[in-house]
Symmetry: C2
Subunit: 395 residues, 2 copies
């Protein structure tokens, strides 16, 4: 801890103390929350892609990116798609989510998680988080389902709404893995399918196994703010060969292979990742181990800089897990919205992009009437989490 930070610690001005700690780690650079780093073969592969003229929905980089992703994550199959939202939409459809079903979704997530449920004509049913992992709390979920769920004709039905509860979407918040053993156990107990929203957790491991490979299907995102980027992009992970085949088929307009005929035998989607974007992805994936090292190093610097600030806690990987530290976050020890907002004001004014976590899903107008469990932990997290600059280039 620097002398400057020490000084602010003695003052009542937590915002200024946080700015001082950020100064200590980041210098006085203007920083985004997460900027990409292009320091590898990006140029080479993009140029090669242009020269080949295969920039669009088929091409060697798409095939390679899928192979490289499967290898990196240890998933038997990876299907590249146009973004993480599309990946989640298709994963839910392949998990059997149907119109009128309910899908258990953390209240603490980005809107895409709940939107993807809506695209299937299903209803998100919001569940609480674990303060330690920031992901779904298996114990709280088990308690909730023991009250609300009943088995009827081999299906789990919500006693209140009468609707089938089809699946659980787990989301690895800020890259920190959920308690997958706990969640798999609850899923087995109630006969629910798990779809892992691993949009934020490429490079994060639970007990040595990559996130997104525990559920029937997992999904990744390569948006510009993610650990690696393809401009826009996503992927579906699965160990099931038939699901992988189906995922590829329905994300590529459901066209049957034929030397010239155009037969599409179900309603498919145009969710293909262009080869141009996959070329960027291949170059980024080569650098992923380095990005992960840098992000871990940044975390260690933050841990040192914020060590003396008792009023905030730096979020860290849960025990037994290795996090990609996609987004670093401070957790205020007390709920004080005025204080939180003044910290956001001060840090942004100092040139450091900071933001609160997402608004909880049931607080969004379109999801206000959806079923929900008690959300005490998520509601506390919503009021106390602040993300701070986290890019791989900042370490």
């Amino acid at each position: 801890m620097s002398a400057a930070t020490e000084k602010f610690l003695q003052s009542a001005d937590l915002g200024a103390a946080i700015v001082a700690a950020l100064d200590e780690v980041l210098g006085t650079r203007k920083t985004d929350l997460h900027a990409p780093v292009f320091a590898g073969n990006e140029w080479v592969y993009l140029k090669d892609c242009l020269d080949s003229t295969f920039v669009s929905s088929v091409g060697a980089y798409v095939d390679r990116f899928e192979r490289d992703l499967a290898e990196f994550t240890g998933s038997a199959h990876a299907v590249a798609v146009v973004n993480g939202t599309a990946a989640l939409h298709v994963a839910l459809l392949l998990a059997g989510v149907e119109q009128g079903d309910e899908v258990l979704v953390p209240a603490l997530t980005f809107a895409a998680t709940a939107n993807a449920v809506s695209y299937c004509g299903a209803i998100p049913h919001f569940i609480d988080s674990d303060d330690r992992t920031l992901g779904v709390d298996p114990a709280a979920l088990d308690r909730w389902l023991s009250f609300k769920a009943e088995k009827t004709g081999g299906r789990i039905v919500n006693r209140d709404t009468g609707r089938v509860i089809r699946a659980i979407v787990t989301m690895h918040t800020f890259g920190h893995p959920c308690d997958m053993d706990g969640l798999l156990s609850v899923a087995r107990k109630y006969g629910l399918t798990i779809v892992e929203d691993a949009a934020e957790s490429l490079g994060s491991y639970y007990q040595g196994r990559h996130t997104g490979t525990f559920g029937l299907l997992g999904t990744l995102s390569f948006n510009g703010n993610k650990t690696l980027t393809t401009g826009g992009g996503g992927a579906i992970l699965t160990n099931d060969a038939e699901l992988a085949r189906r995922a590829k088929f329905i994300t590529t307009t459901a066209k049957r292979p034929h030397k010239w005929e155009y037969v599409h035998d179900e309603v498919g989607f145009n969710y293909r990742m262009p080869n141009l974007n996959a070329a960027l992805g291949c170059a980024q994936l080569e650098q992923l181990p380095g990005f992960l090292q840098s992000k871990r190093a940044l975390h260690q610097k933050y841990a040192k800089a914020f060590a003396g600030l008792d009023a905030v806690e730096l979020t860290r990987e849960p025990a037994g897990c290795s996090s990609n530290y996609w987004l670093q976050a401070l957790k205020l020890q007390n709920i004080d919205m005025q204080l939180r907002d003044s910290i956001l004001e001060q840090t942004n004014a100092a040139g450091y992009m900071t933001r609160p976590v997402w608004k909880l899903m049931h607080g969004l107008r379109q999801f206000g009437d959806c079923p929900r469990a008690p959300l005490d932990v998520a509601e506390r997290l919503e009021k106390t989490l602040i993300n701070i600059p986290s890019g791989a280039g900042l370490a």
Copy 2:
């Protein structure tokens, strides 16, 4: 006409005669149906985009591409999105298409047109084509609606199904403009909204006005096989400022502007075009006038080469229109599936990619039960059209 073509004309082997005509125009190059040409600022803009680190869902190239598209097409507004299918999905939603509605769609189109209707929870209702334009036939549509449609409570209802008929999707097949005066007149008569699927017709004009700007909304595609490409991409055109604002809003996750808060107040879509793809689009759009000239020159060469072959007719722009000649097509004068397939075999074997037009939508399993008008012209076109190599690099 070359001596070689003349010779084959005397023979009964139409396939060989077509190969000879293709040889005359294309030499003996192996050719795709439509390969992109990258001969401008593609590399400069892609490099600039990488250097800026703004490769993803916001960026200067997205803004510029939207401005450039609006200027080129004469549309008041253009909203760039992830592909043409997404553009159509959102255009239909903005045209007021609701779950359970019917939408009039040509049977002769690519599957995306009908899929987009399905994404809205609506039902495509297939209508016939005009042999001259290859697009929706306004006179046939008027006759059909005069039997099938009735006005009930200010809405047009299908007498058979009782469902509201909400809109007409016109599609400018192979880049040839539909009879927009005729279609606008039918739309007015029945109080129907027109959405123009101009995926294939960037650079095509009806009576001097760009296709996609006649309907309430129009949509473009920049897939790899289109006149210009962004890898994957599309756009929504509209002259209505409020619809343009709504299009931008719901394609960008419906997030309300705020300095840090994440408020999404309706179910939005992640349909943003990445800046990387828009950079490619800006470079391609600069070359569009040249591409259009080349494609017209290719048409003229084909017209000369095929002039003596009475058994096939080269499709051409309708009177009063300027077509982009996106895809060149031969129309067989007689229905003979064995002959058609042997022409496809012979031309593909000779290294020229050719294909029949798409299977009609009501022939696809998932649309087999949808309502449909008599489709005599479309059914004839399905059996007689053959696309031949059409890229701007071939002239």
